[in-house]
């Protein structure tokens, strides 16, 4: 079982990111589970969502306490030192940020890759929705799911020009990461 | 459409009246003309949807009103009935006085249940008209929200409120429909109080604000007018509302044989104006020509007895009630001074005798 935790702000599509990742796992033939830690949050408030993927049915319904990977959709959330709480040894986080990855990595003592997802999203789909970029980067790093699964999941959700932009964006984003660089994590 | 008013007949030739007749009742017929196609609904007036043998009190205004409504509405109807006298005296397992499909759920949900019944008819492509019945307690007070919701959603339901101006089923407690200064068991008259302190809620205005196709007030003292209003409402696809002034001998403390007379005087003094509204605007009123003093209405009823005591407050409250009646008369033009009175007969001409008509009781 691989566990993910997604941190974002209300309105950034953190829950959509979780559903998208779960859908991608489903498209790849894996079992999946995605859910938000729902609060009464309004736009802009911190939001957390969780994803599990496995090759057998997932029974556990607890929140993800020991994630393999983190996705941080808004780098202002890095002010919260506890953001990496429970991250498994050898885990990693993908951050939507223009900051320096090495510095973030050193600060939190874990693997981290910062990508300017907002800028790319604005360029490709005209809106600062970082989901697909971050998921593409993470899946490229881990190789957990093929990018085609992510694309199939996007195709279930969007169509026409929006889908086209998203698919191109996934390919562009994948080039920002080294293929398989975090692959060994699951064995950790 | 050609003018249905036949020439040379006894029909009045007032075009406005003819138009209203065509709209509100059955079209007038020329002598020798082909008989009109009688639809089941046209043939309904003699239908007895509510049978005799029920357990209503002697002289019950509500029982009479419901019978008149059912005659004009049935038999292709189904009824959603709120908790109250009407529900209690007509049913009581295993006997029922209803000859139409009838359901009682709760005190405050007759409108919502009717909404569901109507939705079911729509889903099944049936035309059966849904009626919702409630007393003033369930209409003005506890079921007010569900009524407003039903009207707002434009359900094809005729809602009839049998207004006897208090919670009679539980033993005469005040409702928001109880008239000002009336004594009830929860607004008794005493050294410190002259009965109900507040005014009767102006429900029709609130109903009018929903801009439904048709809303009207009727009275058991004017059965033809009442039935015309029911028939008119039955012909409308959409929410319609009828409030019927229905005296309760027990709660109003008048003799059981005076029900019609009391109801008539309520109209004649202007306290219960018989008005019709379409899409929220007044389209018709029953003129009363020579309004009676409110005192004539009050004196028949024990609930206003304290207003006849040697007490300056009693005088004041009588004046207050007279002012309310005067306000209605002025607002609705009830004396029929306006240019085109819709009903040339008027309340004063609709008289059928009774114990007080022939000089006393």
């Amino acid at each position: 079982m691989i566990e993910y935790r997604i941190h974002g702000r209300g309105g950034q599509g953190s829950v959509s990111a979780a559903y998208l990742l779960a859908s991608a796992a489903f498209e790849a033939g894996r079992m999946c589970q995605a859910f938000p830690a729902f609060g009464a949050e309004r736009r802009g408030a911190p939001v957390t969502a969780f994803v599990r993927t496995d090759d057998k049915p997932i029974e556990l319904r607890a929140q993800v306490r020991r994630p393999h990977y983190l996705i941080v959709q808004d780098d202002t959330l890095l002010h919260d030192e506890a953001i990496t709480a429970g991250l498994r040894p050898g885990g990693g986080m993908v951050v939507n940020s223009a900051q320096d990855s090495t510095e973030v990595s050193a600060h939190f003592g874990c693997r981290a890759l910062c990508v300017p997802a907002n800028a790319l999203a604005v360029e490709m789909i005209g809106r600062p929705i970082p989901n697909a970029v971050l998921l593409s980067v993470l899946l490229t790093l881990t190789g957990d799911l093929p990018l085609d699964a992510l694309k199939s999941a996007l195709a279930k959700r969007f169509s026409g020009k929006v889908l086209e932009g998203n698919l191109k964006m996934v390919d562009r984003a994948a080039k920002m990461a080294e293929v398989g660089a975090w692959k060994e994590n699951e064995d950790a | 459409m050609s003018d249905p008013t036949p020439s040379g007949s006894s029909m009045p030739d007032n075009p406005r009246l003819a138009e209203l007749r065509r709209k509100h009742g059955r079209p007038p017929q020329a002598p020798g003309a082909e008989p009109p196609q009688i639809t089941p609904r046209d043939s309904q007036p003699r239908f007895r949807g509510l049978e005799s043998g029920h357990r209503a009190c002697q002289g019950c205004g509500e029982a009479l009103a419901a019978r008149l409504v059912m005659e004009s509405a049935g038999p292709d109807v189904m009824v959603s009935n709120a908790t109250g006298c009407l529900e209690v005296f007509t049913t009581t397992w295993p006997q029922s006085a209803w000859r139409v499909p009838w359901i009682h759920s709760l005190f405050e949900n007759a409108s919502a249940v009717a909404s569901g019944m109507e939705a079911a008819m729509k889903a099944k492509g049936k035309n059966t008209k849904v009626l919702a019945f409630g007393g003033d307690g369930s209409t003005y007070d506890i079921g007010f929200q569900t009524l407003s919701g039903m009207l707002e959603r434009q359900h094809n339901v005729l809602y009839v409120c049998y207004d006897n101006e208090a919670y009679m089923n539980t033993g005469v407690q005040r409702s928001s429909s109880t008239p000002h200064a009336a004594a009830t068991t929860t607004s008794p008259a005493g050294k410190e109080r002259m009965g109900k302190r507040h005014l009767k809620k102006d429900l029709l205005s609130i109903i009018a604000a929903h801009h439904i196709p048709y809303a009207a007030a009727a009275s058991v003292a004017y059965p033809q007018d009442l039935q015309r209003k029911v028939r008119y409402a039955m012909g409308i696809e959409g929410p319609t509302f009828l409030v019927i002034h229905s005296p309760c001998p027990l709660g109003w403390k008048h003799d059981s044989c005076l029900t019609i007379e009391v109801a008539r005087r309520a109209v004649e003094c202007g306290l219960f104006p018989l008005v019709e509204l379409e899409r929220g605007a007044v389209t018709n009123v029953m003129p009363i020509r020579k309004p009676r003093p409110v005192r004539d209405y009050l004196e028949l009823q024990g609930r206003f007895r304290h207003l006849f005591a040697e007490d300056p407050r009693a005088e004041e409250e009588q004046a207050h009630l007279q002012a309310l009646a005067d306000h209605n008369i002025a607002t609705f033009g009830l004396t029929g001074d306006a240019e085109d009175p819709a009903d040339t007969g008027g309340a004063a001409l609709v008289h059928r005798g009774g114990p007080l008509a022939s000089g006393g009781f």
Partner: protein, 389 residues
């Protein structure tokens, strides 16, 4: 077809497969997504129903009551305060023996205000006379929803399908949705013998004097008892057609020889299963209670026989008495030989997350012989002022 769906979306699709004539609902967290998805299906022309957007839950329940009484298949959904606002109507629906289906997206009841999951809402109306079925997963919620329409019309009883708010309603997971043709073949068209019909007028909801009232209550109780085999048979029939079951009245899994049992309802069962499957976990017999009303007392005794300890998990409490399920289990086992000692714990009240370690913690707590018969297991009493502990 298998799809990755959010629980609420799956429920809306399942309801659509049952072709309800009338749907009435009022939005309330966490049921909202169900209503929104149904509205969307109507707007897209995928669901042909009279969708009545009411002004309150009270009216939602009243509208479906009226619709079903007039012979329509009807559905509603609610949660928490909404269920309580409906309470008067829910008792009336059941008392009039009107077949209806309602989803309860279980949520805590105010105050203090909590939008998160527990079972206080459906437990508050447990005596309303509705059938109450609890779902472990969204797949069970989908399958139970369709089964509920059949159970309702076979028994002339309304059915509440209880699914944990957020924990199930907002979870995306793979769902196997039956084909329309399969549901059409499995679920008979709606029939209600006592439906309002001008060609055969009947009076429903009449006043009943003491001469008949006890008999009518007895008949209702008897109908609930008779619903027990119907619930079981319906699930068996479902399994025969679709190859998966929802757990009939209750299911027993785990180590048959274990001396310790755990009984739970709803999504908690999944987390307990995960804990039980951990390497080195202590053996236990896991009892999943699906039917809370009618209460399967006999099946429960059979399931509990031979255990030394039975841990009963509650997600609702009756303050001053204990866990609601715990009390019912105690009543069912009382006076029967070979029944286990009960340990009743409330867990996850108001949405407190139930961690994967809970299984081991619950079993370890059996050793605590000083523990009271009932506890709010995951309450941290240090958060309370001393006088409130």
């Amino acid at each position: 077809m298998r799809e990755a769906l959010e629980g609420s979306q799956a429920i809306a699709r399942a309801v659509t497969l049952c072709k309800p004539d009338v749907v009435a609902a009022y939005p309330i967290t966490p049921q909202t997504h169900i209503v929104e998805n149904l509205s969307e299906l109507v707007a897209e022309g995928d669901l042909h129903t009279e969708f009545v957007s009411v002004e309150s839950e009270f009216s939602a329940a009243s509208v479906v009551l009226g619709a079903a009484a007039a012979g329509a298949r009807a559905y509603t959904a609610s949660a928490s305060q909404g269920v309580l606002l409906m309470a008067e109507v829910l008792f009336n629906i059941a008392g009039l023996r009107i077949p209806l289906v309602m989803t309860v997206a279980n949520r805590a009841v105010s105050g203090p205000l909590s939008i998160w999951n527990d079972h206080a809402d459906s437990m508050a109306v447990r005596d309303s006379g509705w059938i109450q079925l609890h779902c472990v997963s969204n797949q069970e919620a989908v399958d139970t929803t369709i089964q509920a329409f059949r159970i309702a019309q076979e028994t002339d009883l309304p059915v509440m399908v209880c699914m944990d708010g957020f924990i199930l309603t907002h979870v995306m997971e793979p769902i196997d949705l039956p084909e329309q043709s399969e549901v059409d073949a499995w679920l008979p068209p709606f029939v209600f013998d006592r439906a309002l019909d001008p060609s055969d007028p009947k009076s429903l909801g009449m006043m009943v004097t003491p001469d008949y009232f006890p008999e009518i209550r007895h008949a209702h109780h008897a109908a609930m008892e008779k619903a027990l085999p119907v619930i079981e048979a319906t699930d068996r029939d479902w399994e025969a057609s679709f190859g998966r079951a929802c757990g009939g009245l209750l299911t027993v899994e785990g180590d048959a020889g274990a001396r310790v049992g755990i009984l739970a309802m709803g999504s908690t069962v999944g987390t307990l299963r995960a804990g039980m499957a951990e390497p080195g976990a202590a053996p236990a017999r896991l009892i999943t209670l699906r039917a809370f009303r009618p209460f399967p007392a006999k099946a429960l005794r059979d399931a509990a026989r031979g255990l030394d300890h039975l841990i009963v998990i509650d997600r609702a409490i009756s303050p001053g008495a204990g866990g609601v399920v715990g009390l019912e289990v105690a009543a069912a086992l009382a006076g029967h030989p070979d029944m286990p000692r009960l340990h009743n714990h409330a867990l996850g009240l108001g949405g407190r997350d139930i961690p994967e370690t809970i299984y081991a913690d619950l079993i370890a707590a059996i050793e605590d012989t000083d523990a009271p018969g009932f506890s709010v297991f995951d309450a941290d009493l240090s958060k309370l002022a001393p006088e409130d502990r």
